[in-house]
Symmetry: C2
Subunit: 101 residues, 2 copies
């Protein structure tokens, strides 16, 4: 069962995503979001597949909207109704596997 | 270049999607939407990949939102700012390739 990030984790792991990696908090939720833009649908879909496989592997799935080359991704953890270490892991995976942001 | 559905096409092709296949018009847009629900993410993502490949083949891409086993799909055609025969084709493909709706 995933648990919510504690204060130390928010400072050391969440803050860098918000301050350096352009993730932002979702209004009214303990969740983070970011929009990724690619060259075309081929590139966007290839990346989404990588994220889908990585998420499935740890049983953690995104909320995401896609139209053509744009993907809006939100991470939050249903189990604990907020951000957990799984969200940090997947957000970092998103950043590490995309070429553009 | 895709062109908007004419009156005859709306009657013969769009109407059945709205009246029988549970698609609905998007408020304020000449676009159709439908929510598909699957057993789990594996099933949802498998289906999304089939739709992605079919769309890419005819260079026509959905607007869609996914969270876990649920996929909300919208079809409209950017070129003509409204519904074209490509949307009818892809909506029908969506219906023909899903097990649940």
């Amino acid at each position: 069962m995933a648990v919510k990030l504690n204060e130390e984790e928010r400072e050391s792991k969440l803050k860098p995503l918000l301050q350096e990696a352009k993730w932002s908090m979702v209004d009214g939720r303990d969740a983070i979001k970011k929009t990724f833009t690619f060259t075309d649908f081929n590139q966007a879909w290839g990346w989404m597949n990588r994220v889908a496989l990585a998420g499935e592997k740890i049983d953690h799935h995104p909320e995401w909207f896609n139209v053509y080359n744009r993907v809006e991704v939100t991470w939050s953890t249903h189990d604990c109704s907020g951000l957990s270490l799984k969200d940090i892991k997947m957000a970092t995976f998103c950043d590490n596997t995309c070429k553009t942001s």
